[in-house]
């Protein structure tokens, strides 16, 4: 069975190569890695359920290699798929490792085959849908709508898009004001550092970091948030400088710190 369908081998004729290159340029035309895989799977000419995923993986990896050689920029998801297929290939080739966790190579391969089959099924369904008789093309609505009576009522119309766009417009309005620095509720890291350096000498025992927040910054939520962030950043900086130690007993537990200078 043909190993490569997308790229020319050396002994191909010029026409073949031209044709193949046309395909390569068309990489842009592919709708993502699954699309490429589906396309490659067609060369196997079998039921998608009986497809050889191993062979498909090889073909895809060759595809990516060739694209690289030809200096075609492949989007990240193509490379992610290549990495995953390389991993799958090794799983399929090596005897299963009983200590390994997660699904087996066969399970992964079966799922990939399922995905390809499902995508193909949706494409077929889309084609069948479009092939149906359609309004305005094969069958038609009434051309003339009656306006017999003079009873006039106004029907205000608005659709969901209008509504969402209106809301989006209001909510983004404030983002477009002239750029000004709102410093009122911002406690800067510099301020925190300065404050902490002054207090360091008294930090002999483990103390909750929150105790270091200036008292006037502890009330309002907005101010407290800013001061907490700044103090935390300052604490990290001081820890990096070797001036204090940090600890936290568990996730979301209070962060505690103490000075290191005393031990030295």
């Amino acid at each position: 069975m043909a190993e490569i369908s997308l790229f020319p081998t050396e002994d191909q004729s010029v026409e073949d190569r031209l044709a193949a290159e046309a395909l390569i340029v068309d990489v842009d035309g592919f709708e993502g890695p699954l699309d490429v895989l589906l396309m490659l799977s067609r060369t196997q000419k079998v039921d998608l359920r009986k497809i050889s995923v191993l062979q498909l993986a090889r073909q895809y990896l060759t595809f990516v290699e060739r694209a690289k050689e030809l200096r075609i920029e492949l989007a990240a998801d193509y490379l992610v798929m290549a990495a995953w297929l390389a991993f799958l290939k090794s799983r399929l080739l090596l005897p299963p490792d009983p200590t390994e966790e997660g699904p087996s190579g066969e399970e992964l391969a079966a799922h990939l085959a399922f995905q390809l089959e499902r995508l193909q099924a949706m494409r077929d369904a889309a084609a069948r849908l479009l092939a149906r008789d359609q309004l305005g093309r094969d069958f038609f609505a009434r051309g003339y709508t009656e306006t017999v009576t003079r009873v006039r009522s106004v029907n205000y119309s608005a659709n969901l898009l209008d509504l969402m766009q209106a809301y989006a417009r209001i909510r983004t309005k404030e983002e477009f004001r002239p750029f000004v620095m709102d410093r009122e509720s911002i406690f800067t890291m510099e301020e925190a550092l300065e404050r902490m350096r002054g207090l360091l000498g008294f930090a002999g025992s483990w103390t909750d970091m929150m105790n270091y927040l200036p008292i006037e910054w502890q009330g309002e939520a907005e101010k407290r948030r800013s001061a907490t962030a700044a103090t935390f950043a300052a604490a990290l900086q001081l820890a990096k400088e070797g001036k204090l130690e940090l600890r936290q007993n568990e996730t979301f537990a209070p962060i505690q710190m103490r000075s290191r200078s005393e031990e030295e």
Binding site: F140, A141, R142, G143, Y144, T145, E146, T147, V148, T149, R150, V151, R152, S153, V154, N155, Y156, S157, A158, N159, L160, L161, D162, L163, M164, Q165, A166, Y167, A168, R169, I170, R171, T172, K173, E174, E175, F176, F179, M181, D182
Partner: protein, 226 residues
Amino acid sequence: MEPEIEQDRANDALEAETLFDAPTMAEQERMVEAVLFASKEPVTIRELMSRLPKGCDALQAVEQLRNRYEGRGVRVVQVGPAYAIRTAPDLAHIMQKETVENRKLSRAAIETLAIVAYHQPVTRAEIEEIRGVSVSRGTIDQLLELDWIRLGRRKMTPGRPVTFVVTPTFLDQFGLESARDLPGLKELRGAGLLENRPPSGLFGGDETAEEQAELFEDADPAQTSG
């Protein structure tokens, strides 16, 4: 009948004989029926002939169709030299709804409506705060009249102001199953409905978005279906 048409018909008949058989009269009648139904304007015999296959007798087909619709809810009528399908005059009284005039909702109204939908229950003062401009009485009245918003519970704040919530009619109009199904700010952004991002999310903008989302999650879905 004009001599010109006579001539056409003679030609058609000739061609039909030489090339293929014309459709049956029943089939011709079906064709005329479809054309008259779908056409905006009354259709002349001449135009019918140009649209039907060669060898058809449009005039006879129209006459037959006209007989068929005798006494029905619609009839084939002659308008000058042309034909059309129109409602039977005695049924005019049930045709009143066809004269609705479609008008776009004003910007103020759609914005107010959006705020009610996203923030319900919401007071008038809150709407004004969010919009940044005052909301005219007419706007609220219009939305009430359309039955898209209604009065909700009074707020337990000083003055006990009335609040507004959206109605089932609103959900119906906008094809929503509940107001909770409205996309949040982040989703609007994801869908490209919020094109412009501030230079960075540093100051406030995104924070309010999050708060908004929270507020939205808390909204009681029962109140829209009540």
